[in-house]
């Protein structure tokens, strides 16, 4: 068993597209929608979740044989909550503006279903290294959707990307474009995710219901 055997590669690759946590497994939607009105918080959120899922997967996988089955959920929650507290304090110290924008949603990573889903479904049965890869794969799969949604919402909603005025520079306002305020509100996030799901299922017929 090499570090990147076929099985390990699968653990890393499948969550990116075929088993994407957001569009296929329908996990972690709450934060995926809430932090995406700008690109920057979406990237920070994606990174935080990736780190936390990977770390939590490793920790739970290391202690998986010592956790009593009946209280495993609480053990998992405490591990996750401790990691989230760490990330939240780091963000407050080094990226205060972003942590204000993310507001309660950083804390809500604790109840993000991706975490509990992966811990239950993967880390409880697998060794630390595959669990780590599985965590990275799921985190990146999640971050990818966040970035795609945030890209469109920020571009059409405020005309900027990472606060750089893209539409102004390429002269869209001169030919009469107006910022679409709806893009910054909640309904646009739902509909954009719907479009991603639509596209993915049109491409991959095996996902259709």
């Amino acid at each position: 068993m090499g570090l990147f055997s076929k099985k390990n590669k699968e653990a890393l690759n499948t969550p990116l597209f075929k088993e994407n946590p957001v569009t296929v497994q329908v996990l972690g939607i709450c934060s995926a929608l809430a932090v995406t009105s700008k690109l920057e918080p979406a990237i920070v959120m994606g990174l935080s979740v990736t780190i936390i899922v990977a770390m939590a997967n490793v920790i739970i996988s290391l202690i998986r044989n010592t956790i009593p089955m009946r209280i495993r959920i609480i053990v998992q929650l405490v591990v996750v909550a401790a990691l989230v507290t760490l990330v939240s304090e780091v963000l407050k110290a080094f990226a205060y503006d972003v942590s204000v924008q993310l507001s309660v949603y950083i804390g809500l990573i604790i109840t993000n279903c991706i975490l509990m889903g992966r811990l239950e479904a993967f880390a409880m049965q697998n060794k630390p290294w595959p669990s780590f890869l599985d965590g990275i794969g799921n985190g990146v799969g999640y971050a990818m959707i966040l970035v795609i949604v945030a890209f469109f919402r920020e571009l059409f909603g405020s005309g900027t990307l990472l606060n750089y005025p893209v539409l102004e520079k390429i002269g869209m306002y001169e030919i009469g474009y107006l910022n679409n305020g709806l893009m910054l509100m909640t309904p646009a996030a739902f509909i954009l995710i719907a479009c991603i799901v639509w596209y993915q299922r049109a491409k991959d017929k095996s996902l259709q219901e």
């Binding site: 809500l108 109840t111 909640t186 219901e209």
Partner: protein, 207 residues
Amino acid sequence: MEHFISLLVRSVFVDNMVFAFFLGMCSYLAVSKSVKTAVGLGFAVIFVQVITLPVNYLLQTKVLAADGILGVDLTFLAFILFIAVIAGIVQLVEMIVERFAPALYNQLGIFLPLIAVNCAIMGGSLFMQQRIGLPADNSQAITCFGDSIAFAIGSGLGWMIAIVLFAAIREKMEYCNIPKPLRGLGIAFITVGLMAMAFMCFSGIKM
């Protein structure tokens, strides 16, 4: 009293957990295939919310805050303690319901553990923590124990209304001829998007 009602109405319609903050989406999408189960889950959420949120309010103001009984600012521990309180109470409620109301347990049973990780519950507690510091004339401010109960009822009820309406629409959609790739999750998201637009009409309400 006025603030109590205003906070209640506001958290049901304007600050709706689903349509304004996207909270509790996972179970919202997964358990909304029939109105009956949606009502069951809705009640379970209100129930757990009304118990956990005031408890967390007391924990936050009396223990964790700098002027609490310990005299030390421990708010950085809030995440761990809130989730522990929620998980503990859910476990307790599950055991009590199983013992004294087996019929209810059979209906709610599968949902109760789900609710421990429902973001609407944790989100409610985190929003409460954020709103304690707001000035008292702000209609979102939570200034006393009563307010935290109003917010708990309101946010739970808002979530329940959202899931019951959505389940009703989904039941009707069973008979629609939807393009294949959109079936299931795709059309569900578009429906929620349209419902969120409809709920935006409430945003001007002031009591």
